[in-house]
Symmetry: C2
């Protein structure tokens, strides 16, 4: 047992998956969940992924040794203000947010200056396009990376304890500055998601097209974008607004490249197209070799398809 009491705020896909890991590995004496959505809370209780639920945020964190923020990052400031009066001395606050500079600021700025509160900001780089506690599963994190991004309120001891939880979830642990984290994630995660949301919007808005025909033939490419663009709207709104500078910069670079490609097509520059596509094919091979295709996610997709096909 790592902690006497753990409280997870936000029992959605990530929160409930983490809860399953904590329960399965008996990492907490008591595991409590709070969510502002009463349905999620009731579902979590029914699914048995936590010991107790509370719709009172203050009570939920009382006596907790570890509090996990697993909500969209836009809610961190308000949550912190609300829980401060109820926090135990020496408590560790940690989070799972996809942007770190902003998350850390929202938590730190709302903590009393001298308070004995430790903060371990982190990001388990895992997820699916699904939301809610019913879609969580304990192997979600398996083989993926947990990135811890220490801040001024972090201690080595607390970092080690929080990392132990993620190791139990079979994650590999990495450490970076919040700035570096946000820069890397902008490229590998935020920009790709933004592009997917954008193209799914464009294609589904095309006048002169039958929407049913678009859906019918979606398996030829469009479908893969809809998967990414099916991700949680609130979470992604908060990510884009709170890693703004880097994302705006990357959109500009992407548009420049796309316009260049458009020009290659217009002027029949087939050799340039071929060169780019050969380069991207090599990148694909590197991704495969780095084993970044994830078995668990694919297995679940398959199970889901089988259910649908019945």
């Amino acid at each position: 047992m790592l902690f006497d009491k753990v409280t997870i705020i936000g029992i959605g896909l990530i929160g409930s998956s983490l809860a399953r890991v904590i329960m399965k590995n008996k990492l907490a004496g008591k595991l409590c969940a709070y969510d502002k959505n009463p349905e999620y809370l009731a579902e979590a209780k029914e699914l048995g992924v936590v010991d107790e639920i509370s719709n009172d945020l203050g009570k939920a964190v009382e006596n907790a040794d570890l509090v996990v923020y697993a909500t969209p990052v836009g809610a961190y400031g308000e949550i912190t203000r609300q829980i401060v009066p109820y926090l135990k001395k020496g408590v560790i606050l940690t989070d799972v947010g996809s942007v770190k500079k902003y998350s850390i600021r929202e938590i730190e700025e709302n903590l009393p200056a001298g308070a004995d509160i430790v903060v371990v900001p982190g990001h388990p780089v895992a997820g699916t396009e699904k939301s809610g506690p019913a879609n969580g599963f304990d192997s979600l994190f398996e083989g993926r990376w947990y990135i811890v991004t220490p801040c001024s309120r972090s201690t080595d001891e607390a970092i080690a304890k929080v990392s132990e939880i993620w190791s139990a979830a079979k994650m590999r642990v990495d450490k970076m500055t919040p700035e570096h984290h946000d820069k890397v994630m902008a490229a590998v995660s935020h920009l790709p998601h933004l592009i997917a949301f954008s193209i799914v919007g464009t294609v589904s808005d095309l006048e002169g097209y039958e929407k049913q025909e678009i859906i019918k033939y979606s398996a030829s490419g469009f479908r893969d974008f809809t998967r990414i663009a099916g991700s949680d709207p609130t979470m992604w709104r908060d990510v884009f607004l709170n890693n703004k500078e880097t994302i705006l910069e990357l959109i500009q670079r992407f548009v420049e490249d796309l316009i260049a490609l458009e020009r290659n097509i217009r002027w029949n520059e087939g050799d340039k197209l071929f060169d780019l596509f050969s380069r991207t094919q090599k990148i694909r091979k590197e991704v495969i070799e780095a084993k970044q295709e994830q078995p668990e996610h694919e297995k679940r997709l398959l199970a889901e398809i089988k259910k649908l096909d019945k």
Copy 2:
């Protein structure tokens, strides 16, 4: 037995998968393959997916009742010019190209005016990002759509015979004009592929980033684009150059939408982001409900991952 002799020109992913279907269902008395790549040809022979191979295009099509073009569409004109002297009277030419207006023109323009040659242009809307005969499999087409796009040289009888092959491959058969086909595919397939190629190029070129770090964290979104951008460079070069007008028009619409989204982020218009992402989430649900997630592809992905993980 539907045909005495069938010849497949181009024994890559699609050609070899079709060959497997024809062999398994005994649809041809003899199945012959030609490919300009001697390695592909030898592989096809070794895999036993055809009865015979030939590195002489003329000889390969001699006496064939059905000739299948399964090469990048840019090669159709040259192939047609080369095979015309060897074609049997009443032969049916068919193809699997992803653009139809251009494919039909390249074939028709190179056939002698009065010749007794029937043409059934078509597109089995299926594939993976892999290339080559070793990556083909007979269930590739299962549950997907085959679109036949009749031209002036098509006959109802030939359309029915060719469609029977694809029905044996467990495809559902649909019919459209070549123009409509190219318009729909531009939206659901060509634009998404172009965007994927483009973003993988952008992200892998970013200065100030470690390429290894991009690969390491690719599972958070970028990976899904690399899959699509791992598709055959020659095939896609030919598609983009030969469905040019529609694709250029769609790129413009996409860029407009992306710039609008960029502006929403810059001006903190969170409600607009949320609205778009909620819409795209609905589209995702419609795709799932239309059963456009494909079991076979996912199963193979999984098998491949398992091999890698050993």
